[in-house]
């Protein structure tokens, strides 16, 4: 049962990827089914932007479904919800009226909710609960925004909004933008609406986490792009400023959370928040540039953001699949209980290594190219003659640079502690390599990371063609010899293909030289040097917590670390220690300042509301009657 569904999904994904790519190339179509549901019926429309996201969902679901054959093929539970989940995600970008969008969006949320609570334990129930609250609060904002816009423009069809919206009052458009942005950002997991993400991603099975993090949160980005660049028309500068600052906060905050986490999948979830932040920086820059009539730069920023969307889907699904293999083999996600896997699971380790290098933005892999493009877009803010805005851009540049450095630290920790040195538990020592379908899925995603990096010029051309339908302008990116990306006529250039060749050559050179010199590269194997201690055990290794400790101390205003040291000594003499308990939990500034007060306020409000709640059906009927009368009077 399970295997059949995953094979069907892989086939569906392939077909969707082909259809989406055709859409990206300009083969648009639309279809409608008016009688099926009320309020406008089902209506689908394929354009270039929809094509990009359909292709993204389809292409990501192929390796993930192949992987799922090995990961969950024997289980029946969750297979059908998985198929519905992928199908709904394919429908979201195609929806072309409110009704279709609401159905597809809610179907996607419900299917993913079912998958999150699948394990039926306390942790996943809690995760599902928070996820349901956040996703429905988001849906509420979305519907409010869409219905307002629909009411003001007099149409429920998206195509007519783009025509009518520029004629609306600027305040009205800004109200709608804020509502839609909150709704879409809650789905994208941007700070401070991210709380569901680090709970739901680890709770879901790994192939589902791969899709949730790789593509589902990107549909929030899709909505934001569609609303900001399509439906609402040109807006004021502060839309862009808000997104730039939110993106900078999410990027730095996300990676700081990820850096100290010892749960491998939660670390990856936090890193998704970071990458959403990078995407938002690109989108914010695009909005800010467009509002100041720098269309070409807006096009560059939007291309960079879309590129990062695609890249993140490739490397984050790869990393979640590799984390799933580790979980499958060892039964734990705790970094402090892993280690030594590079010898026991070489394929998985290689997959995770590729993903880690890509997400840490190391050349010549794909993450580097999109971060580089984002940097180039931001650096050109000097062409805007608005000093205040220049400063916002400067903050975003610094945040992006800090994020890049911290992401390297984070993934050195994840790979170094999780995969290298000696195993830290018996489960890790007894780990085995993942079955063939799982390896195949990971290999496909790893190849995508490499291809998107080395083939940067082609990817930028294709994505530029999508972005130009939203921001009509002459492209500031030219493709030079050696597939070099040339930005704004000599402002910056990059050829990842040439870098890859140069790096490969520089790597091969000493080996060739050694071989020509006839030297045999001998090494002597011996144990690790240890200051004279007798044997080496895993307890002597640096732990993930210790590795992150410098960061916990440096950013203590953010983590608010507490140290609990509890030493029991013998009653006779304080020199005989009987027990030492050490704990250093971190609390996060966002929880302390936002969610705890908000939770308390909600509880207090609920307490007040309990006053009118007697439990008597008669009284409730009276309330209904009263409200009905009130409505009749008002109408």
């Amino acid at each position: 049962m399970g295997v059949a569904v995953y094979v069907v999904t892989a086939v569906l994904g392939t077909a969707a990827a082909v259809a989406g790519m055709a859409g990206m190339l300009g083969h648009g179509w639309h279809a409608s089914l008016a009688w099926l549901v009320p309020l406008g019926g089902l209506a689908l429309e394929m354009d270039r932007l929809a094509g990009l996201f359909v292709a993204l969902v389809g292409a990501t679901s192929v390796p993930v479904s192949v992987y799922a054959v090995g990961y969950a093929g024997r289980e029946r539970r969750g297979a059908l919800a998985y198929l519905v989940f992928v199908g709904a995600m394919l429908l979201v970008p195609l929806a072309s009226n409110i009704m279709t969008f609401a159905i597809a969006w809610e179907l996607m949320s419900l299917a993913s909710y079912v998958l999150v609570v699948q394990r039926r334990d306390g942790a996943s129930a809690h995760a599902g609960w928070v996820y349901a609250i956040m996703t429905h609060a988001g849906l509420g904002c979305l519907l409010a925004g869409m219905l307002l816009l629909g009411g003001w423009t007099g149409s429920a069809r998206f195509a007519e909004w783009a025509l009518a919206a520029p004629g609306l009052d600027p305040t009205a458009r800004s109200i709608v933008w804020v509502l839609l942005a909150v709704g879409f950002l809650a789905k994208a997991g941007a700070m401070p609406l991210h709380v569901w993400l680090p709970l739901a991603h680890p709770a879901a099975p790994s192939h589902v986490s791969a899709l949730m993090s790789g593509v589902m949160i990107k549909l929030g980005v899709y909505g934001l792009v569609r609303a900001s660049f399509g439906w609402l028309g040109p807006g004021p500068t502060w839309w862009g400023t808000v997104l730039l600052l939110l993106g900078a906060a999410a990027a730095v905050g996300g990676v700081l959370y990820a850096l100290t986490d010892r749960d491998l999948k939660r670390l990856l979830a936090y890193s998704s928040i970071e990458n959403i932040g990078i995407i938002l920086i690109g989108l914010g820059a695009a909005l800010a540039f467009r509002s100041t009539a720098a269309e070409a730069l807006a096009l560059l920023s939007l291309t960079a953001a879309l590129y990062h969307v695609v890249n993140h889907a490739a490397f984050k699904s790869l990393l979640f699949m590799a984390a799933g293999s580790v979980l499958h083999a060892t039964g734990t996600r705790d970094l402090e209980a892993l280690g030594g896997l590079v010898k026991r699971m070489p394929w998985t380790a290689a997959a995770f290594f590729t993903g880690a290098a890509a997400i840490a933005a190391l050349p010549p892999l794909n993450g580097f190219v999109s971060e580089w493009l984002t940097f180039q877009a931001l650096l050109q803010n000097v062409r805007l003659p608005v000093p205040g805005l220049n400063l916002v851009f400067t903050v975003a540049i610094a945040a992006l640079a800090l994020t890049g450095g911290l992401a390297v630290a984070c993934f050195v920790k994840a790979y170094g502690v999780g995969f290298l040195a000696l195993p830290r538990s018996e489960a890790a020592a007894a780990a085995h390599e993942a079955p063939v379908p799982m390896r195949a899925g990971m290999a496909l995603a790893a190849l995508a990371c490499l291809a998107l990096g080395v083939g940067a010029a082609t990817a930028v051309e294709r994505l530029g063609a999508v972005a130009v339908t939203l921001v009509p302008a002459a492209s500031p990116i030219a493709i030079g010899p050696w597939r070099t990306l040339e930005v704004s006529e000599g402002f910056a250039s990059l050829s990842t293909a040439a870098v890859a060749i140069a790096l490969a050559g520089a790597l091969a050179l000493p080996l060739v030289a050694l071989a020509l010199a006839g030297a045999r590269p001998r090494v002597r194997r011996y144990e690790t040097w240890g200051c004279g201690r007798l044997l080496q055990t895993a307890r002597m290794e640096y732990t993930a917590t210790a590795f992150a400790n410098p960061f916990t101390r440096i950013f203590d205003f953010f983590y608010r670390p507490v140290k609990r040291l509890d030493i029991d000594t013998h009653p006779e003499s304080r020199f005989f220690v009987q027990r030492i308990a050490y704990d250093n939990p971190t609390r996060f500034v966002i929880d302390d300042w936002l969610y705890r007060p908000a939770g308390l306020a909600l509880r207090a409000l609920a307490h007040r509301a309990a006053a009118i709640q007697s439990g008597s059906p008669n009284l409730y009927l009276a309330y209904v009657l009263a409200v009905l009368l009130l409505l009749l009077v008002l109408a």
């Binding site: 840490a360 933005a361 050349p363 911290l406 630290a409 290298l420 000599g490 402002f491 140069a502």
Partner: protein, 313 residues
Amino acid sequence: MISDVVMATLHVLAIALGAPLLVGILRTLKARLVGRRGPSPWQPYRDLRKLFGKTPVVSTTTSWVFRATPYVLVATMVVAAMAAPVLSSRPPLAFAGIIMLMYLFLLGTFFLTLAGLDAGSAFGGMGSSREVAVAALAEPTVILAVFALSLQANTTNLGGVVDRLADNPLLAANPSHLLAFAAFFIVMLAETGRLPVDNPATHLELTMIHEAMVLEYSGRHLALVEWASAMKLLLFLTLLANLFFPWGVPQALAPRPLLIGAAVLAGKLAILAVGIAVLETSIAKLRLFRVPELLAGSFALALLSVTAVFLLR
């Protein structure tokens, strides 16, 4: 094409062969400043030759990462040498800008810090953790300092920055340029493991950063790691010399200008080396958790520099 290959070879040879000499000169200068005779400036070459002749000892705990890292490190430095304006303002990999260069160094750091964790000793992990913390905090300063330069030159391509600033000497005298220089100088000390951030001459457990991380390396591997860090130092000093004092960097690829350019570069590097030697003999190493304050200070300088550009235009 031929001239590109010649230039690439020249750049790589200049960086690779010059790096040990720079380290040797720094050591000799520091020894003289504290009243010792010190080793000859050529000593690092002898050390490298000795190390290349020895069989490396590799821990049984380690994986391919540990054995690949020395080669990857050297490869990143070689590519960086081809991308940086060393002998001419038209480096062979002309397209690569400062961001590319910084991420190449991060690639080296990524491998080196992983190798530090690979042997499973507490020293290696400690060194890796500290090294990556310093590298991460240095990143924003580097980018902002270079942003200040690229604002004035209207390009992030290194050769373009050099050309543009060399054409307008007045640009190099404004406050923003000097602030950016100060910020970049501090970051250079942090990135290459010099005092007051790290002491390249110590093996004291509590203070070492870089040395702790490479403690497990020996023989040929150690030679490559040491060589790569010497190349990194030389590359950073070259960037400092050629980006902030961009005079005498030839554009043409003829032998005569190149020779003059090399001599001018050697002069600039000698001045910087004396500066570093004096600095290193006159200050003590900072406590590890004071280092972020130093880096925050350099970040503030870089931010001021960028703001100055916006205000003064």
